[in-house]
């Protein structure tokens, strides 16, 4: 039976979120919050392993109180247990502090076999947190995993890196970060939804982690990088030669352009 941990992040729905070009602001209130789409693939991978081999899936999220709804959503999709890491002290974290906080909580949870992260998030968008958690915990990781080949005594995965495909074997414990190719996430089940509504969400703050973590490494204080400005590029645009029809003249001119520029 595998003990699997899936870190998930709550993010704004990118198809709704509004950007203020002039002020350089992201208006998070303009969009509903949801589980980071890549993390749904991570959770689905965990659920498929559990269905085959048995296991316990713990999802863990660091974020504001509202992130509780993301954890409930995860429960309805097959997670067994959840931890919400929320505290003023965690706010303003970059990936170093985020991964440190998550790794500390994973330590506190006790022994585990496998951590499955998403490839990246749609907001912060760095893809760094997975490998960083692995480094904090001193375990190996494989990123860009597109397929689980074998889960047994060992883990064998397929990972794709720039036109090359690797088959990689690892002992447990190990962390993998999965791409969208790995599966198609299922929808929450009705029963899952009902159970999730009633479930108790474990909530930890800095205090709960104090026996294993240094407070100075959380949040803004523990974050060496800072976003000091945001700009929203107004599309520069090109002054194109646009043909409103498919006349011979249009075809002729475009063909000529193709030959001129393709080199």
């Amino acid at each position: 039976m595998l003990r699997i941990i899936v870190p998930i992040k709550q993010v704004p729905d990118m198809s709704q979120v509004k950007f203020d070009t002039e002020e350089g602001r992201v208006d998070r209130s303009s969009a509903a919050a949801e589980i980071n789409p890549f993390d749904l693939n991570a959770l689905e991978a965990a659920v498929q392993i559990k269905e085959k081999l048995g296991g316990i899936i713990t999802t863990i999220s660091m974020g504001p109180r509202q992130a509780e709804s993301a954890l409930r959503d995860a429960l309805s999709r097959g997670a067994d247990d959840t931890v919400l890491l929320t505290d003023r002290a965690f706010a303003g974290a970059d990936t170093l502090a985020t991964s440190y906080t998550l790794a500390s909580a994973i330590r506190k949870l006790g022994e585990f076999d496998l951590i499955i992260c998403g490839e990246k998030t749609v907001d912060g968008d760095t893809g760094q947190v997975g490998p960083q958690i692995a480094e904090h915990l001193g375990i190996p990781h494989v990123a860009y995993v597109s397929k689980l080949e074998e889960v047994g005594e060992k883990l064998v995965v397929v990972c794709e890196m720039e036109g090359e495909r690797y088959l990689i074997e690892s002992d447990f414990p190990v962390l993998i970060a999965v791409t969208k190719d790995i599966n198609t996430p299922r929808l929450p089940s009705l029963r899952g939804k009902l159970n999730a509504r009633k479930a108790e969400i474990k909530t930890w703050g800095a205090e709960e982690l104090s026996s294993i973590a240094e407070k100075g490494r959380f949040g803004t204080q523990g974050s060496p990088t800072r976003v000091h400005r945001i700009t929203i590029p107004a599309e520069e645009g090109r002054k194109g030669r646009i043909f409103r029809d498919t006349s011979d003249e249009a075809i002729e001119e475009i063909t000529n352009a193709l030959y001129r520029y393709k080199g």
Binding site: T179, H228, R238, I242
Partner: protein
């Protein structure tokens, strides 16, 4: 912080050849090092790589730290991390740059944690401020915004996207020093059982790309685009929806969650021009759009466009081009 000086570039190699992003980073690194009057070094790990180390000098490095050992022939995550981290602790560069390739984005986060320093992801711009601090510019929010990021710890580490920085011209007269370093081996923990090349040439290398989007009616219709691409000596690309539908494999996807391409010519067929798609192809020299909707945003980005049905336009182009060559 005072002990730190100079810039270092991680030179990524596959099959014994440096990835071109390494030369690009050396080009940018050279420019910044000259501005600050400091040294530009590079670190290369591989098996029998002296010749390639010299190439790094021809492309701008003052010094190359070379780790030559069979264990580095393929990407060995933990041995790469261990040896590079030791080197950085010894050399103490102010700035350390990686290519934002899959390998770079998997390795750099671990090194940053091991060093306890900040890491900025997938930069498309780098600038030196007067105080020697690095201003790192990167797209975030799925390519909708640009964040300007500063790092208060040293080294300031960043991964930088391929094909955004120009490399310098190769110059065999450039002088530099190759320093062979002792290798420390740690347990790999990961074993590569098999490695294979994914058939076609990566579209990031293509000079001309014909891409299809949701304007295509079925998977088979990509062959129409392939015909045009073949005639022009190019590759086939795609927006995300056809990839999600399994019509074409993910290596062909252009955009925020796919490949960033910078061909001489990009032909978008039945693609509307979403910010996430533009994020991957706005660097093309010439953009051609074929779309039936005159209000499609892609036309604002196009150098040439035809408002029309791609099923009519592409065969006409193919006929015209065939006429040309016969």
């Amino acid at each position: 912080m005072k002990d730190y000086s100079g810039l270092m570039v991680f030179a990524e190699q596959r099959e014994g050849r440096a990835h071109p992003v390494s030369y690009e980073l050396l080009g940018k690194g050279r420019e910044m090092a000259d501005k600050l009057g400091v040294e530009l070094s590079s670190v290369l790990l591989g098996n029998q790589m002296e010749e390639e180390a010299r190439e790094l000098i021809y492309y701008g490095a003052d010094k190359v730290f070379l780790y030559d050992n069979p264990v580095f022939e393929d990407f060995d995550l933990l041995n790469y991390k261990h040896n590079i981290t030791r080197l950085v602790e010894e050399v103490k560069p102010e700035v350390f740059l990686f290519g934002a390739t899959h390998l770079g984005r998997s390795l750099a986060p671990r090194i940053a944690v091991a060093l306890g320093t900040g890491l900025t992801a997938d930069c498309t711009g780098l600038d030196m401020s007067e105080d020697g601090g690095l201003i790192q510019i990167r797209p975030a929010f799925s390519g909708n915004i640009l964040a300007h990021i500063r790092t208060k710890t040293r080294p300031q580490v960043a991964t930088v996207r391929y094909k955004v920085m120009p490399s310098m011209l190769r110059d065999e007269h450039r002088k530099g020093e190759i320093i062979k370093k002792d290798v420390e081996i740690v347990p790999s923990l990961l074993t590569i059982l098999k490695k294979e090349k994914l058939g076609e040439k990566s579209i990031t290398e293509a000079e001309l790309i014909v891409s299809g989007g949701r304007g295509l009616k079925k998977a088979e219709d990509f062959s129409l685009l392939a015909d045009l691409a073949e005639l022009l000596g190019g590759a086939v690309g795609s927006s995300r929806p056809p990839v999600d539908d399994g019509w074409i494999s993910r290596e062909h996807q252009v955009g925020f969650s796919g490949n960033t391409v910078k061909p001489k010519v990009y032909i978008a067929c039945g693609i509307s021009g979403s910010p996430q798609h533009l994020a991957g192809m706005r660097g093309a020299d010439v953009i051609v759009s074929i779309n039936s909707d005159p209000s499609a945003p892609i036309f604002k980005m196009a150098d040439y466009g035809i408002v029309g049905d791609l099923y009519e336009v592409i065969p006409k182009l193919i006929d015209r081009i065939k006429g040309e060559s016969s």
